[in-house]
């Protein structure tokens, strides 16, 4: 990358190889990395209707901002956003406001759905009656709605803001819990079987670290306030995240090594855990590994506990 004095005067990042980049050169570097990731893993075809999962946090705002740029360069790529309001008091209201403001400013259509409207209860109330960790309930029901609604709205790809740190955490969590089947579903693109019930999911920020993504978001003024989900401290993922960050600080390059070695074994994992035929939930007809999908299993539990009360 051709650089001027600007990079030595006002650097916003020092790359692992020691190179310093100013805001403008870092922006080009970061966007270049995302576009290369899209090409390398064939995430986006020539003609697509992409929906970006938008939480209003730095990752999803960065993702949507870059996909929107791509769409402007290539009119055959259409981009919209989808937001799920789980109902987390003191958190979701703020991020929802950011998401709406961003879409309005950039003229991007926002498709908004809520747990309350779709399932009858907010996440906060679900946790009161379920004996499950909030992140488990939130994750299952959010993924369920994202896939279902993206498919109903006719999108060809569902893009998420998962970055390199998120993926590293998932890889290590699955390793620690001996759940290689879950790791087989990871990677920069997943859900690409010809099943009409699945919208393929893509992760264009796959090779961008959390810190790089935050620097991009802040230096491009995509958001200004810090917001963190109040449930995060209770999660196993948070423990893994802290451990990985400690390792990264002591041994720089650890996270990249985890991703690179994982990408080497991913094809083997995918073929080893190839879906054995396709099953559908006997309640909602959505894809399921067993007779009942995880979302219906949770909703059933909620229904029963309400009756007990």
């Amino acid at each position: 990358m051709k650089k001027n004095n600007c990079c030595s005067k006002n650097p916003v990042i020092k790359l692992p190889a020691g190179e310093r980049l100013c805001k403008s050169h870092f922006t080009k570097y970061f966007e270049g990395k995302v576009f290369r990731t899209i090409r390398q893993f064939n995430l986006i075809g020539k003609k697509e209707r992409i929906v970006a999962a938008l939480s209003g946090g730095k990752d999803s705002l960065t993702l949507l901002h870059i996909l929107n740029k791509l769409s402007k360069q290539n009119p055959r790529i259409k981009v919209e956003a989808i937001t799920i309001d789980e109902g987390i008091k003191g958190y979701r209201e703020k991020t929802l406001k950011t998401a709406k403001k961003f879409c309005k400013k950039n003229k991007i259509k926002l498709n908004l759905f809520s747990f309350k409207k779709e399932f009858g209860l907010k996440l906060d109330n679900m946790i009161d009656v379920l004996n499950e960790k909030p992140c488990t309930v939130c994750g299952i029901l959010r993924r369920y709605l994202l896939n279902k609604k993206s498919k109903e709205l006719g999108f060809t790809k569902l893009a998420t803001g998962h970055n390199l740190d998120d993926e590293c955490q998932s890889i290590m969590m699955n390793q620690f819990k001996n759940n290689m089947q879950a790791s087989a579903r990871l990677g920069p693109i997943s859900g690409v079987n010809k099943n009409k019930k699945f919208v393929p999911r893509i992760k264009p920020l796959y090779l961008c670290t959390e810190k790089e993504t935050a620097i991009y978001a802040y230096s491009n003024n995509l958001l200004d306030n810090f917001t963190e989900c109040p449930n995060i401290t209770e999660s196993y993922r948070a423990e893994i995240r802290n451990m990985l960050n400690d390792f990264e600080q002591k041994f720089p390059g650890t996270k990249h090594s985890i991703i690179n070695s994982f990408l080497q074994i991913l094809p083997e994992l995918k073929s080893g855990f190839k879906e054995q035929g396709l099953n559908y939930c006997n309640i909602c007809q959505e894809p399921a590994s067993k007779g009942k999908c995880n979302a219906c299993r949770l909703l059933d539990k909620i229904k029963k506990s309400k009756i007990d009360v």
């Binding site: 916003v12 990042i13 946090g57 993504t213 620097i215 989900c229």
Partner: protein, 68 residues
């Protein structure tokens, strides 16, 4: 030197005392913050870990971690 530091994760402003000629890295070490997890800004300008700190300087530490 005494520095006023705002850490968004804790939503607090603290006064931190450091030796003269200290860097951003020294500040994070003193506050027991892993540099991998934050961005540091001085007067809304992102600064790197080896940047030397000057007195008072309106320092902001922004957490980059997210997700549950």
């Amino acid at each position: 030197m005494k520095l006023n530091v705002f850490y968004d994760r804790e939503n607090t402003e603290k006064t931190i005392e450091l030796a003269d000629n200290s860097s951003v890295k020294d500040l994070l070490k003193k506050m027991k913050i892993n540099p991998v997890t934050v961005i540091v800004g001085i007067k809304d300008q992102i600064v790197l870990e080896d940047e030397k700190l000057k007195d008072k300087g309106n320092i902001k530490i922004i957490s980059v971690i997210s997700g549950g």
